[in-house]
Symmetry: C2
Subunit: 380 residues, 2 copies
């Protein structure tokens, strides 16, 4: 097991009706960051404002699915013009990520993009509050935000302990109205976070691996239930709590490895604006098959411990069966797209440039430009 520092100062209020805790916010001027109008249609917007009566609320709506630096800059401007003291995101990972970088950039003298490119420049941030409406990125309980500059075709993670949310409200009922497609993409995203942590070369991170298997079993159990029965509370609750725990350090710390599939997917999102979870669903099984021969034991362990495949079978058989089951789960049970064509990518013209940015070293299996081009091709 590797050495690590584990620190999650975020206070999570989990469960139905927990939005009442927003009334504990002490700052007066608040920037409310959100995406589309869904939070107005489903009543979450009104519920939040009710808890915040007495506060002065400024709004930044329209955060994109892959939040843009221009939107961050717009939020920073509102903060500076109105003496904003705290930022509240209502939404999924996009709104939260955007809010995090706004909170940091609002107290920074230069341009927000500086902080994206050099995270060490983040020396403080406004307090960040979250009301989560989608189980996916885990941004509600981590110190990361991902921001894109579409002109530069860069999608980049911002890491800083200053951007941990102070408080996050996780009410599973807020995900009842999510379209099936978003539930599926969110579940695939959580699953990918878990895989990226689980498939590691670090020896002896045994507890982390067992936790990852528990998380995968939970996703496999409840993902399809949430798709079929969107108001099943326990399904929504488990998926939501999985989203936080897949990426808050519990699975990663002590087992750190470079994440390759996310690197490859970030290129799809940056260049083609693909929905992150769908890009991951497409790439993950292709990646597994591509590296299988080098990692038969690890995929066999996955098959035995997660999919209950008979341990007496030949290891390679178990490993292949595990990958087949993963595909069936993602494509048949969740209904995620299976190929890049299905999300509108029809040719290879950008693959080389994308692969050059996604080269992956220090990972479970290192991937060269050629490896990644081949993975993109097989995913086409």
């Amino acid at each position: 097991m590797n050495n690590f520092t584990y620190y999650i100062p975020t206070r999570i209020h989990f469960g139905k009706g927990m939005i009442s805790h927003l009334s504990e916010i002490t700052q007066k001027n608040i920037l409310l960051v959100y995406g589309g109008g869904s939070i107005k249609r489903n009543g979450i917007y009104d519920a939040a404002l009710k808890e915040l009566s007495g506060h002065e609320i400024f709004e930044l709506p329209g955060v994109e699915p892959n939040p843009r630096i221009e939107t961050v800059r717009k939020g920073v401007q509102i903060c500076q013009d109105n003496q904003i003291e705290a930022v509240l995101a209502i939404g999924g990972g996009s709104s939260i990520d955007c809010a995090k970088v706004i909170a940091a950039a609002a107290v920074y003298e230069g341009d927000a993009w500086d902080l994206v490119m050099d995270n060490d420049k983040i020396q403080s941030a406004l307090p960040i509050y979250v009301v989560l409406t989608m189980a996916a990125t885990g941004s509600e309980m981590d110190n990361v935000g991902v921001i894109s500059d579409m002109d530069l075709q860069i999608k980049k993670g911002v890491h800083s302990d200053h951007i941990f949310p102070t408080m996050s409200i996780l009410d599973p009922t807020y995900t009842y109205t999510l379209p099936k497609r978003q539930t599926a993409a969110g579940t695939a995203d959580i699953m990918s976070h878990t895989f990226e942590n689980y498939f590691t070369n670090v020896e002896g991170a045994y507890l982390q691996a067992r936790f990852a298997e528990g998380l995968l079993k939970t996703l496999i159990h409840y993902g399809p239930i949430a798709i079929k029965d969107p108001t099943n509370y326990d399904a929504r609750a488990n998926l939501m709590w999985c989203s936080s725990n897949a990426i808050n350090g519990l699975l990663k710390k002590g087992a750190e490895v470079k994440w390759c599939v996310h690197g490859m997917e970030h290129q799809l999102s940056a260049v083609y604006d693909v929905t992150h979870g769908e890009g991951l669903a497409i790439l993950t099984p292709v990646w597994m098959e591509y590296i299988l021969d080098q990692k038969v034991d690890a995929f066999a362990t996955y098959g035995i411990n997660v999919w209950n495949i008979d341990a007496k079978k030949d290891k390679r058989t178990i490993a292949k069966e595990a990958i087949e089951k993963t595909k069936h789960f993602l494509f048949n049970e969740l209904g995620c797209p299976r190929t890049l064509r299905e999300v509108g990518i029809t040719d290879e013209k950008n693959f080389k440039a994308m692969a050059e940015k996604a080269v992956c070293k220090g990972s479970f299996v290192d991937l060269s430009v050629e490896d990644i081009i081949e993975i993109y091709r097989r995913a086409l």
Copy 2:
């Protein structure tokens, strides 16, 4: 799944050599709380003082295995006489628990025992730092301390968010020199924390249950390795990280249930000064067998998911086999004592009075005075 609030502000520095982080402590006057002389023999005391050169260190040695209120009072007196600004525990749960209550009582006007009996009276505390030397109680990452008054025969948990450690150093190599008996008792303690969380009546706390199973598998895998090969780093690291995660809320939150075995064991410690982990090892299988008929499904799930017992067998058979395997693990593989007689309790004379204090309601299976007397008897 139940509603819950999840909050762990403790910063964990985990791994070999992480004691260097003690140099980040900013307070000048520090009370050092520890038990026996082992930390002087194994060099941890010197390593800590080296990191704290420039600080003024006051000492409270001699904390008992079940820390007494008199020792807390002694620590509070040192704090008040010397303008102590922070408390540093070096040791296992006893030293940490004692340090926590000292830290709270040092800033309280009345007697420390008031805080034990009424936790709401804790309104603040000095910063608490920890160097862990034993994997067991999880006190390094939670908001609980257990203090005993032997005269009153009361052993009671103190709960307050003010007594979370600010920073805990978890260096697995510090447990290399632990006697086998303490390693066994510590592992049994962690296992019991996991069982108390795992066996719940709360529906739909699925992720928590899978996490608990992962933790149990890790204990079962590494406990015997640590007994046989005390300097096996990965075994010590996994046991140590298990100790924190068994009781920091990860398994409990959303699945809350009253803990019965701990209640019964606290009586053994309070009246007979039994080592906590050994008391738990003795009582746990007896408790499992006592309630088996009411909870066949839960014990069968435990048998299938943790012990890999063939799911095709009859459920009661699986459940009984799981309990037998638990016994074999605790008594044969860890070498824990099997009966109360082995820890010096030879008659029933105190059982009734103890049972009256350990009555357990709102639990997995509620236990009356009669039930508990019978469990003590069967454990004799």
